[in-house]
């Protein structure tokens, strides 16, 4: 039976897992790392780089290196959060004709699902090499707080990459599956997931093999990136005070700052102070300027205290929605790289009045959970079951623009609710239903998912047609709307106009491009990478062209040679 892998498609890093013979394997990438940076780049000579290779050249090529694409999945260009990111990203962001976000790489416009697909494709290839067999199916994780558009975009990314996404599961829920708690014993756990770009908190009830999510809350635009940004802003401010030079306009400088900020932040989780040195960060008439400063943990905590504190509100909402007090919670599990920060840990301890559980690897837990779920779907694991919830209320716009809820947030999924609609005019042939997700009382303040027109209603007096509209949220958290004419019992035709996202034909075209154009560029990138590595490892005597290498001596080199040969064959 073909394997199904679990993929944590993260904002900053991605990770893959698989359960084989009951054992969890974290699948390393082709460089042997257990996580892969979610970074995609196009070099000047048209080679496509993904992962570590893309990240390594980021400083030299900031305009054409796309990172944190997850922040833009399923988002509108006019979203407030996007507006804010516009100023921070060294790459160009533009609106699509339908208002969605697009990014520019190498002068060409890409949708966020396409960029994500490139990451997925790289992961797929690496997994295939590692497992030595084709990988076609995957379980992909998303933040629990992803709405329908963001989930659709993730599913589209899978399709574009040639992956059958058999299930989308929520990251905190996945982490719970991997937490190692015995689901047979009754307990209540909190998953606090602060990743690179998103924050999720979920409360689960365990018992009799079922992981039942009681409530979930979060912020899709709060994560490690924001902590980095605080450091960057501080460094820029300090440099400006000292040298009178504003580094904000310099994309290369910004990228170097981002790199340095992230490293400093990570080191400050264990050290009390770090030195940040960036040589030649700016050039003036008087000559080059260097940035040199010391950042203490204390200062970092002062800079980011409000960010860490802001996670308390979603935690309190989740507790309230689950009808629980902190004392009802048995364990608090931390997931996501940002939870390694001592400040975050202390905030969590204070909110839940409990020391967080230590037994989970915050970088790999989500991928491990996705692998568990893949195993359940394959039928290998039969004694656990996930019952997740929808993080948002689903409803429709009614008279006066009022939002009328049909499915309440924190409802277990899959779920189905139906409503009966009729006409308000004689011989009315269609009824429009606008579907929204959110909690605000006015529809316009929530997220429009799509417009559903019940069309071809047979002519009748007003109020006589009876059309039952079914609102479904499936186990992936994806919405489906269907309708039935109760008078005739026939399926009622619906015209669906999604507010955002790619059309079916767009996805198909992109998937095709992926196998032709992108595969070529990617192969070029891989070749480039392999060449670079060859140069780094060893230049064999008398052989300058890496493409016609003669004998290889070490096992390591043999492996690289064979990888290289794959691409040669494909091209030929």
């Amino acid at each position: 039976m073909p394997k199904i892998i679990g993929i944590d498609l993260g904002t900053t890093n991605s990770c893959m897992g698989l359960i084989e013979d009951g054992k969890l394997i974290i699948i390393p990438n082709d460089e042997g790392f257990r996580t892969t940076p979610s970074v995609v780049a196009l070099t000047k000579d048209g080679a496509l780089l993904v992962g570590n290779a893309a990240k390594r050249q980021q400083i030299m090529n900031p305009e054409n290196t796309i990172f944190s694409i997850k922040r833009f999945m399923g988002r509108k260009f006019t979203d407030k959060v996007v507006e804010n990111d516009l100023k921070l990203m060294p790459y160009k962001i533009v609106p699509a004709p339908n208002g969605d976000v697009r990014v520019v790489m190498g002068g060409k416009i890409y949708s966020p699902p396409e960029i994500s697909a490139l990451i997925l494709m790289k992961l797929k290839r690496d997994a295939e090499r590692y497992l030595n067999e084709p990988v076609e199916k995957a379980v992909i994780t998303v933040p629990a707080y992803f709405n329908d558009s963001q989930r659709q975009a993730t599913k589209d990314a899978g399709k574009i990459a040639g992956l059958d996404v058999v299930r989308i599961i929520n990251e905190p829920t996945a982490a719970a599956l991997a937490s190692g708690f015995d689901s047979k014993s009754k307990m209540k756990i909190v998953i606090y997931d602060l990743g690179g770009g998103t924050f999720d908190v979920s409360i689960l009830k365990l018992g009799q093999g079922i992981f039942e999510v009681m409530s979930t809350s979060g912020d899709t635009h709060l994560g490690g990136d924001d902590f980095d940004q605080r450091i960057i802003d501080y460094l820029i401010e300090e440099f400006y005070k000292k040298e009178g030079i504003d580094l904000r306009g310099d994309r290369v400088a910004l990228q170097r700052l981002k790199d340095a900020a992230e490293k400093a932040k990570i080191n400050l989780s264990t050290l009390e102070a770090v030195e940040i040195t960036l040589q030649f960060i700016a050039v003036t008439k008087e000559g080059p300027k260097h940035l040199q400063t010391v950042l203490t943990r204390e200062k970092l905590e002062a800079l980011t205290k409000d960010l860490a504190e802001s996670t308390a509100v979603p935690c309190e909402i989740a507790l309230r929605d689950a009808g629980l007090k902190p004392s009802d919670i048995d364990e608090v599990v931390l997931v996501g790289g940002q939870t390694k920060m001592p400040l975050v840990r202390s905030v969590v301890s204070r909110i839940f009045k409990k020391t967080p559980y230590e037994g989970v690897n915050p970088d790999e837990a989500v991928a491990a959970g996705a692998a568990h779920q893949a195993s359940v779907l394959k039928g290998d694991i039969r004694d656990i079951l996930l019952l997740d919830v929808t993080a948002f209320s689903l409803g429709i716009k009614t008279e006066g623009g009022v939002f009328s809820k049909i499915i309440e947030k924190n409802s277990s999924i899959p779920t189905r609710k139906s409503e009966i609609y009729t006409t308000t005019k004689d011989n009315q042939s269609f009824v429009r239903i606008e579907v929204y997700q959110g909690e605000k009382p006015m529809a316009a303040d929530n997220k429009l998912i799509g417009t559903f027109d019940l069309v071809g209603i047979p002519p009748a007096k007003k109020g006589t047609p009876k059309i039952e509209v079914m609102f479904d949220i499936d186990a992936n958290g994806i919405i489906k709307v269907s309708a039935k004419d109760l008078m005739t019992g026939k399926e009622q035709a619906i015209q669906i106009t999604p507010d955002s996202g790619l059309s079916k034909s767009e996805v198909e075209r992109m998937a095709k491009d992926m196998t032709t154009e992108f595969a070529e560029k990617l192969a070029k990138g891989e070749k480039l990478k392999v060449q670079q590595e060859y140069k780094q490892v060893e230049q064999l005597p008398g052989d300058k062209d890496a493409g016609v290498l003669g004998e290889v001596k070490t096992e390591e080199q043999k492996k690289k040679k064979s990888i290289f040969d794959i691409f040669k064959k494909k091209e030929g």
Partner: protein, 188 residues
């Protein structure tokens, strides 16, 4: 609210008198049986069934919603007694079931004829400890939800008459009367 043709007790395969723990166990067993993860060959069916199971659990695990649900199916029983075989009246002994069914039918008739006290007696016989005042109160709640305030007022008055000691009924009745006065004033 309650869906047509689905009896939550039957769906979860439990007796109407099931305890909270029994309901929870039944819910988990039903999830194992119906969830799409365990039925990859028929995802549509699994989705639909699981959605029903989830809804059934949501209603039956909440004491108030369970009472309202119970009353809805009791009240709708009158219309469907013919097709209605087991379910809410699933007693351990068949003979008792027939007996209870007879009491219940008579109770519904009396209730419709406005002979509440006699109806109460019949219902009590049917359900043992079932409190008619509670049932009437629950009907009132349903009327409020469906915006039929006059009917709700009638139901709450009845509940209070049957159980004068219950302070909650007094409070609810007062609040409703106040609300109706306000609405009247606004109309004028």
């Amino acid at each position: 609210m309650a869906k047509k043709n689905i009896n939550y007790y039957e769906l979860l395969e439990i007796y109407p008198a099931a305890t909270q723990e029994e309901i929870e166990n039944a819910f988990r067993a039903a999830l194992y049986k119906y969830h799409p993860d365990h039925n990859p060959d028929r995802p549509e069916w699994a989705h639909e069934k699981t959605a029903e199971v989830v809804e059934a659990y949501k209603v039956l695990s909440d004491p108030l919603r369970r009472k309202i649900y119970n009353f809805i199916i009791f009240a709708s029983l009158k219309k469907t007694t013919k097709e209605y075989k087991f379910g809410i009246f699933q007693f351990n002994e068949k003979k008792k079931f027939e007996e209870a069914m007879q009491y219940f039918k008579e109770g519904v008739e009396l209730f419709d004829q406005d002979d509440k006290a006699a109806a109460l007696l019949k219902f009590q016989q049917a359900f043992g400890t079932y409190k008619f005042s509670e049932a009437i109160y629950n009907v009132g709640v349903i009327y409020i939800i469906t915006n039929k305030l006059n009917e709700a007022l009638h139901a709450f008055k009845e509940a209070q008459r049957l159980d004068p000691e219950n302070q909650h009924y007094v409070k609810v009745l007062d609040r409703l009367q106040e609300l109706m006065r306000e609405i009247d004033k606004a109309r004028k």
